[in-house]
């Protein structure tokens, strides 16, 4: 309808669609040979849609002489004509400006300065509130006399912010100033000819004033449902009573399809819906789907299928829209899922309106991690997390893995800052330099030790040191660069100094994938301006400003107008048109959104000032949805997840009820006419269920994604897809082999296993794992599956590091004093005192590579080490005088020890903690930092797991006795914490050795046959890290597998039947702390 209502500046045209809007452009009274028109569109994409609609409706000639401008562009042109100078973009700068201001004395009444300063977020909240006030055409002066102190405070802050901003203006200010000037002087309007301006009634007061001030403007009122009295009143205030009256007219009704019914009756008053004469749906016709999904993931899959269905039905990509209630995080998820659809030449083109968050890109996420690490003062954990995001030195673009980064950072000893000591961030440079020198020295020693069996074997293996040193050298420049930035932060340097330094660091060291955005360049555009606005903002606050800039920056994804599926918000799609529209995420509370009160200007203050209240924001969301549904020319799908992204169960939005009511489908079971307003049960029966069936049908016919294949195969509807058969990762035969309880057999004949050849010797601890559970050995030792690297405890020395430390001290003690100590020369007290400086020396050296924080904590740990070493020495002393031979005696290097075991032999390498003789016997000892179980009662018999390690050492000592010049009679013992002893000193040859030979023969047979069954003893699994892999029923299953097997399997079953539920003596995993040395053993060779 058209008319010229009193109180408005021109005629009004109500538009229910983009086509009607385009028609209004054609009808503008532009005459003459060169007609000129101006169309004020909300955004450039809307202008594009209007141009396209004009062309498609055969009005292409109308494009000649028609200028499309946005309201802000028009306002800027008015100000330009008025000679007003300004710089746009203040909305981006204002929060930082406020952040700097909140630290100063603002003379506030209501807001406490401490609160604004100490509680993050007030800068943004105040900036938003001031922006809203500005958009209402207000200035600080208008609020000085306000009754509410919040408004007076807002005015004070606003005035100071404006003073700091100078001529830097927000878009709202530009519009407000232009409206005021144009109202006074219509001659400032810069465009010739008639103008058509779009309005929805949700404009701000300043925008409405500007529209009214345009001379001879025709208002294109975009109508939407539902009608609410408050909104109508707002339209009356903004655009006059005629505009209000115009909105009351019923929308055009069509009923050719369900889509037409939905567009005609969505959000119509129930009385209209209840009209028995109104057209209703006869059942689903494929043009409208109302869907409910188990969760967001399923909804995304269904979205991808739906898009594919639209493409398959011939709809152009740019005519397909997937809309979300809010852009983040759903838009990125949708774009990612759509990009996975098969498409010729690469990914399916997708345009995300508004772009994707910079942080959703790999480089953006890494940049944020860097800034946050700096914000945490480069604490150890933060540095370890961020290092994998940085390039290492060298031209190969390498980077550390997370495990390497964790190992490196925590091997640097105590470093990094914390809130109480921010300057600790600067310590890394010195720590790196010192550690590099130490590693070089350690490496030299380890390399020498590697070639010399007489040298101590507990030095960290050379290859580990080489790797660590290489990582340190590679990461050192990047860490130094980070520390340079941290130095500025600690010195509270201003943003203008911090950002360039950080930019340089990011440019030089941040890993950025080839086709991703150049993060430093993107940020530079934003932060260069912020630096000017930030004033004295420095240190941590400067970092916060940078962090926020990264968090809020978005990067373009596709381009509107090009052939690409449109992904955007429901409100952002207002004014656009598509052939197929899908709105997802329609869960209760998401659309319409649950609106929170503004923390600065609650609704009670907003309403009198003409600012939109929470209720109006919710209504705007419904109007946008209504526009989106009307803009869908052929198909509409509305969908809701049952489980939200935060795993909360939710109901479908009430929008679903209203959509179902608009359709008025019959009862899907009885065919009878349903209630005017369906309940949830009817919704599920008549809407969700048919949609699910239709989607499943398409998915079966055209399985596009992995989920569709899995689903189809699971239901027996599809056979195995060809692409599953050839892929090595999905090779079903290989999977079957692994699932076959570890019985690889001949199929894995090529799998190299240690122990059977001199080239690959095996260690005692690896054999211990093998006989505990061969499957554990397969996963842990052969396949190398490990727990992910993690930060160590920083206030206690963890195992295995503690075990290595104790062994190192004891080794050094016996290297220095072994002979006189074992000969009982002097008193025990003298030797205990002699151990103290060794403890001290080793502990200090240890601190260089272990992050033990705090003097008191270090003192406690130093004392713990001293006590434990003394305990071990006391236990040694109590064993009586002996002849010391060696501590940490390496065997099998460089040539492994060949231990014959019947038809086979095992090749061994390792280190024996202690070797002594008592004249007639060789005494072999293994030190444990945990408890050991004495040979008492049921624990007296040899245990195939717990006693295997010491048994191997005993057999090796026996084997090499002549070579070592020692007695061939051997006695063995574990010495545990607090002097506990488990020994086979007198009965090694008669009890432990024969049993151990059988165990080792079995181990060799299992290795040779590549048989790695699971243990049938549940106690073996109690602390196993692979327990979740094997499942709770693993032992029962293993028992069945072993019962069905012969040969080594039968012998293994027999071995385990003997072990039963008995605990494993001396076993590091029972009874106490795990033993460090055993854990440190790499399983093959040292």
């Amino acid at each position: 309808m058209s008319g010229s209502p009193p109180g408005a500046s021109g005629p009004i045209t109500v538009c229910w669609s983009v086509d009607e809007w385009a028609g209004a452009i054609v009808r503008l009274p532009a005459a003459g040979p060169l007609p000129c028109r101006t169309v004020l569109a909300p955004r450039e994409p809307v202008a594009h849609a209007l141009r396209r609609a004009l062309v498609e409706a055969g009005h292409a000639p109308a494009l000649a002489g028609t200028r499309f401008v946005t309201l802000v562009e028009a306002a800027a042109a008015v100000l330009d004509r008025a000679g007003v100078a300004f710089t746009p973009g203040e909305e981006d700068l204002r929060p930082v400006r406020l952040l700097a201001l909140l630290g100063t004395d603002l003379g506030l009444e209501y807001f406490s300065p401490g609160l604004l300063r100490d509680r993050p977020g007030w800068d943004v909240a105040l900036a938003r509130a001031i922006g809203d006030l500005e958009a209402a055409g207000l200035r600080p002066d208008h609020l000085d006399a306000a009754a509410d102190p919040r408004l007076r405070d807002a005015a004070r802050i606003w005035r100071r912010a404006d003073g700091a901003a100078g001529r830097s203006w927000t878009a709202a200010r530009v519009v407000a100033e232009a409206a005021a000037r144009l109202a006074r002087d219509p001659g400032l309007w810069p465009y010739h000819g008639p103008a058509l301006a779009a309005a929805t009634g949700h404009e701000s007061l300043a925008e409405a004033r500007l529209l009214r001030a345009i001379p001879g403007v025709t208002l294109a009122l975009l109508a939407a449902r539902p009608l609410r009295e408050g909104h109508l009143e707002r339209v009356r205030l903004h655009h006059g009573p005629a505009a209000r009256a115009a909105l009351l007219a019923p929308p055009p009704r069509r009923h050719g399809s369900e889509r037409d019914l939905l567009a005609s009756y969505l959000f119509e008053p129930p009385r209209v819906l209840a009209d028995p004469e109104r057209p209703r749906s006869g059942g689903p016709d494929g043009t409208v789907r109302l869907e409910e999904h188990a969760g967001v993931d399923a909804e995304l899959d269904a979205t991808a299928d739906w898009v594919a269905e639209q493409v398959a039905s011939g709809i152009a990509l740019e005519d397909i829209a997937v809309l979300v209630p809010a852009l983040d995080p759903l838009a990125a998820l949708v774009a990612g899922r759509l990009a996975g659809l098969p498409w010729p030449g690469g990914a399916l083109p997708v345009h995300v309106a508004g772009g994707l968050p910079l942080t959703s890109t790999p480089a953006g996420g890494r940049a944020l991690a860097v800034v946050r690490a700096l914000g945490q003062h480069l604490a150890g954990e933060a540095l370890a997390e961020v290092l994998p995001a940085l390039r290492t030195a060298g031209a190969d673009g390498r980077h550390l893995t997370r495990g390497q980064a964790v190992d490196l950072v925590w091997s640097l000893g105590t470093g990094g800052g914390n809130p109480a000591h921010p300057a600790g961030a600067l310590e890394w440079v010195d720590r790196l330099a010192a550690r590099e020198a130490q590693l070089e020295a350690q490496l030299a020693r380890a390399r020498a030790a590697r070639d010399d069996p007489e040298r101590p074997g507990l030095a960290r293996p050379a290859r580990d040191l080489e790797r660590l040193l290489a990582d340190l050298r590679a990461a050192r420049p990047a860490i130094a660069a980070l520390v340079d930035v941290a130095r500025l932060v600690v010195a509270r340097a201003p943003l203008a100094d911090v950002w360039p330094a950080l930019r340089e660091t990011l440019s030089a060291w941040l890993l950025q994938p080839g086709d991703g955005p150049r993060v430093p360049a993107l940020l530079d555009e934003r932060l260069a301006g912020l630096a000017g606005a930030a004033g004295a903002l420095g240190g941590d606050e400067a970092l916060r400003a940078i962090e926020r800039a990264i968090e809020t920056l978005r990067v373009p994804a596709g381009r509107f107008g090009e052939p690409a599926v449109y992904v955007g918000t429901v409100s952002g799609a207002a004014g656009l048109r598509f052939a197929a529209v899908r709105v997802i995420g329609l869960a209760e509370g998401h659309l319409p959104p649950l609106v929170h009160e503004d923390p600065v200007l609650p609704d009670a203050l907003r309403a009198p000032l003409g600012l939109a209240t929470g209720g109006e924001q919710a209504l705007a969301a419904l109007h946008a949805l209504d526009l989106a549904v009307r803009a869908a020319g052929r198909r509409v799908a509305l969908s809701a997840p049952r489980l939200d992204l935060d795993r909360t169960q939710c109901e479908p939005s009430a929008v679903m009820l209203e959509a179902a009511a608009a359709l008025g489908r019959p009862d899907a079971v009885t065919g009878a006419r349903g209630a005017v307003i369906p309940d949830l049960a009817a919704l599920r029966r008549d809407a969700f269920a048919p949609a699910r069936r239709a989607a499943t049908r398409f998915r079966r016919e055209v399985p596009l994604g992995e989920r569709a294949w899995q689903d189809g195969i699971a239901h027996g509807a599809l056979g195995l897809p060809p692409h599953w058969r050839g892929a090595p990762a999905l090779d079903l035969e290989r999977l079957a082999a692994l699932a076959d309880d570890g019985l690889l057999g001949g199929r894995a004949a090529g799998l190299p296993v240690p122990g059977l050849t001199p080239e690959r010797p095996i260690s005692a601890t690896a054999l211990q794992d093998l006989l505990r559970c061969p499957y554990l050995y397969l996963l842990g030792r052969l396949l190398g599956l490990e727990d992910p690297a993690g930060a160590p405890l920083r206030r206690e020395i963890e195992q295995p590091a503690y075990g290595v430390l104790v062994h190192g001290v004891v080794e050094a003690f016996f290297a220095a004093h072994g002979r006189p100590f074992c000969a009982h020369v002097g008193t025990l007290e003298r030797w205990l005192a002699a151990a103290d400086p060794i403890v001290e020396h080793h502990f200090e050296a240890f601190l260089e590579q272990y992050p033990l924080a705090g003097d008191r904590v270090r003192a406690v740990q130093r004392e713990r080490l001293r006590e434990d070493v003394r305990d071990l020495l006391r236990a040694e002393w109590e064993l009586g005088p002996r002849h010391f031979v060696a501590a940490e005696r390496t065997f099998g290097a460089p040539v492994p020890v060949r231990l014959p075991l019947g038809p086979r032999a095992l090749f061994l390498r390792g280190t024996i903690d202690r070797l002594d003789t008592d004249g007639r016997r060789t005494l072999v000892r293994d030190l444990k930092t945990g408890r050991v179980v004495r040979r008492v009662g049921a624990d007296a018999a040899p245990d195939p797991v717990g006693d295997l390690q010491i048994a191997v050492y005993g057999l090796v000592a026996q084997h090499l006795a002549a070579e070592w010049g020692m007695p061939a009679t051997v006695g063995v013992a574990y010495v545990g914490r607090h002097g506990d002893v488990r020994g086979f000193v007198d009965d090694f040859a008669t009890v432990l050795a024969p049993a151990a030979r059988e165990w080792l023969a079995l181990a060799a047979d299992l290795l040779a046959a590549r048989l790695f069954p699971r243990t049938p003893v549940p106690a073996d699994c109690q602390y196993c890290r692979f327990r979740p892999v094997c499942g709770e029923q693993a032992s029962e299953r293993a028992a069945r597998v072993l019962a069905a097997g012969g040969g080594p399997l039968a012998r293994f079953r027999s071995l385990k039947a003997g072990a039963g539920e008995a605990e494993a003596p001396g076993d590091a995993e029972r009874g106490g702390e795990p033993d460090g040395a055993g854990e440190a053993d790499d399983g093959e060779a040292r």
Binding site: G121, G230, A420, L793, G854, G1071
Partner: protein, 363 residues
């Protein structure tokens, strides 16, 4: 079957009365699926759009609290459904229609939610009075906040900056004492951080911090710290030494008894409770995990009887081990309890920095 078509319940009259009642509180106590939500929705709709001409109550002035978020969502949906159904009914009186239409605009801003959601809403309405960040987030799991609280505390203690951390808060006066207490606890060999292994969890001071935070609505009594009862400790130590005097032999239990007696005897002149606590803790750590006559005492009667005497297992014997630890535990525990305000203050600081609110604070 829609609600309108549902046959009347046997207690329909009582249900109707509950819907109509305005002067008294109404309690509905019924099993699942019996119609509690339906009644609640009916009552709400009857209040916002009375059919009897009574004055309507705007929906935004009512609060409906549910136990779960799902239930809240369902309630909002049902309210809207019922309002729409009422509006679709023929012959609607104009006044009631107006009230229903007005209410239809309100479910999105009405107070329908969980108790946490309701509290959250109130706090967001008055963030200044609640001294909150305007953009706080409610955290479901406060582990991260607790961990940072612990880190801040221990860092500040170790760098002696706790007073600066607490400046301007009521807990500031407790900073030096808290620093001393934590250092004493570490000196007494209390573990700083809990350590979780496959075998067990050994709790440290961080667990105490976590417990303080989680139970901060029930603060411990803020009593003065207890003095160390050195006489009681010495008496217990002497009793242990006396009981262990006849014990000999190499069995682990006997060795522990003898070794501990030697240690305790060596502490006769020591008065520092932190050191005594450390020594006793270490002695207890050396004790074999189980004490059985045959296994740990090699069947020796004398040592076994001595053990029974000190452990309190012998009939009529006072529990010497407990008496040995009690004065030390009391001394330390009464000091540790006074860390409470310091911990809670630091926790509040952490929450503020992270713009976070936990559920306890929210309510």
């Amino acid at each position: 079957m829609t609600g309108a078509e549902r046959p009347a319940a046997p207690d329909q009259a009582q249900r109707d009365a509950a819907v109509r009642e305005r002067a008294r509180n109404v309690l509905i106590d019924a099993g699942a699926g019996t119609g509690k939500t339906t009644l609640l929705v009916d009552r709400l709709v009857a209040m916002v759009a009375p059919a009897d001409g009574a004055r309507p109550v705007p929906l935004r002035r009512l609060a409906a609290i549910t136990f779960t978020r799902k239930a809240a969502g369902e309630l909002r949906l049902r309210i809207r459904e019922r309002l729409l159904q009422a509006l679709a009914a023929p012959g609607l009186e104009p006044g009631r229609e107006g009230a229903l239409r007005e209410a239809l605009a309100d479910p999105d801003t009405a107070h329908v939610g969980t108790i946490h959601g309701f509290a959250d809403r109130l706090l967001r309405l008055r963030p200044v009075e609640a001294a909150l960040s305007p953009v706080y987030e409610i955290v479901e799991d406060e582990d991260e906040l607790v961990r940072e609280t612990w880190e801040r505390l221990i860092h500040a203690v170790q760098s002696e900056t706790l007073a600066a951390e607490l400046a301007g808060t009521p807990a500031a006066g407790r900073a030096d004492e808290a620093t001393r207490t934590i250092l004493l606890a570490l000196a007494a060999d209390l573990r700083a951080e809990s350590s979780e292994t496959e075998h067990r969890t050994r709790f440290g001071l961080d667990a105490l911090v976590a417990a303080f935070v989680r139970a901060r609505d029930v603060p411990p009594p803020d009593a003065d710290p207890a003095g160390f009862d050195i006489a009681a400790f010495r008496a217990a130590a002497a009793a242990f030494v006396a009981a262990a005097a006849p014990v000999a032999g190499a069995a682990p239990g006997a060795r522990w008894m003898a070794g501990t007696a030697t240690r305790l005897a060596g502490l006769r002149q020591v008065e520092d409770p932190a050191r005594l606590a450390r020594e006793v803790r270490r002695a207890m750590a050396r004790k074999p995990r189980q004490m059985r006559k045959r296994q740990e005492f090699g069947g020796e009667d004398v040592a076994w009887r001595a053990w029974k005497a000190v452990s309190g297992a012998a009939a009529g014997a006072p529990p010497v081990l407990a008496a040995l630890r009690a004065p030390l535990d009391r001394w330390l525990a009464t000091r540790l309890a006074r860390l409470f305000p310091v911990v809670v203050t630091l926790y509040e600081r952490v929450k503020a920095r992270r713009r976070a609110l936990d559920r306890l604070t929210c309510c």
